[in-house]
Symmetry: C2
Subunit: 111 residues, 2 copies
DNA sequence: TACCGGTAGATAGCAACACTGAATAGCGCG
DNA sequence: CGCGCTATTCAGTGTTGCTATCTACCGGTA
């Protein structure tokens, strides 16, 4: 993966995952697959699992164990109200940053 | 600073600074001031200087020492062609990421 | 039985990067 | 001379994504 992308994902991947499970609760393996479908082809499972552990420990998500037909039980994550607040905060930060960066993008010709 | 913002700046601050000096060559102290003016109120000098050292070592910028009327000589950074290529790459990564994230943003209501 | 591939999760170690906090240095002014 | 402003540097810290590997459960097949 482009190094640029790797670094950009730091701090945004968390929001991306939270937004993903906000749309629809999901388990780790599934989340990775969804991200891949959405274009993040190089996202690695290990990365997602580690992230999920973090947001669980911070109390942003609720976890339910659901037996799977194939393989070990799934840990299904769903956004709780703390997570929802945190996600709102994420969007505020994102909007702020995206705005300034788009400005820089359009300034390409002089001031 | 909000932790979200701190993490989001990883990987983007570098592009922001490169884009800034692409518009107009500048020295560290000045860049910090510009960023502050543009809304990044909490950016710390130490952060910017460390970043400038990195991009200089990677050969993305040319450096000229310019005597200052007040204080030690300024190190004026300007984007060279390698930096310009790198900045293009940054914009590609940024556009990709921003596109997916905006999509998630608008999906707020079901699929 | 024994093995393999796909599903599902966990973990240790690493590198990159922004932040904190402080130190250093040059200059003008009272 | 000491103070404040300009300007740069640096050591140490914490977070985060990646690499690589390991465990575990299941169905199919030889």
């Amino acid at each position: 993966m482009a190094k640029q992308m790797t670094e950009m994902l730091k701090g945004t991947l968390e929001g991306i995952v939270l937004a993903t499970i906000a749309r629809q609760p999901a388990y780790g393996y599934e989340i990775t697959a969804r991200l891949r479908d959405e274009g993040f082809a190089d996202i690695v499972e290990g990365t997602v699992y580690a992230l999920l552990v973090r947001i669980e420990q911070r109390g942003l998500v609720d976890v339910t164990k659901v037996p799977s037909e194939k393989g070990p039980p799934r840990k299904v994550y769903s956004l709780n109200s703390a997570g929802s607040d945190y996600l709102d905060e994420f969007w505020r930060s994102w909007n702020f940053l995206a705005e300034r960066i788009e400005q820089l993008h359009h300034y390409r010709e002089g001031e």
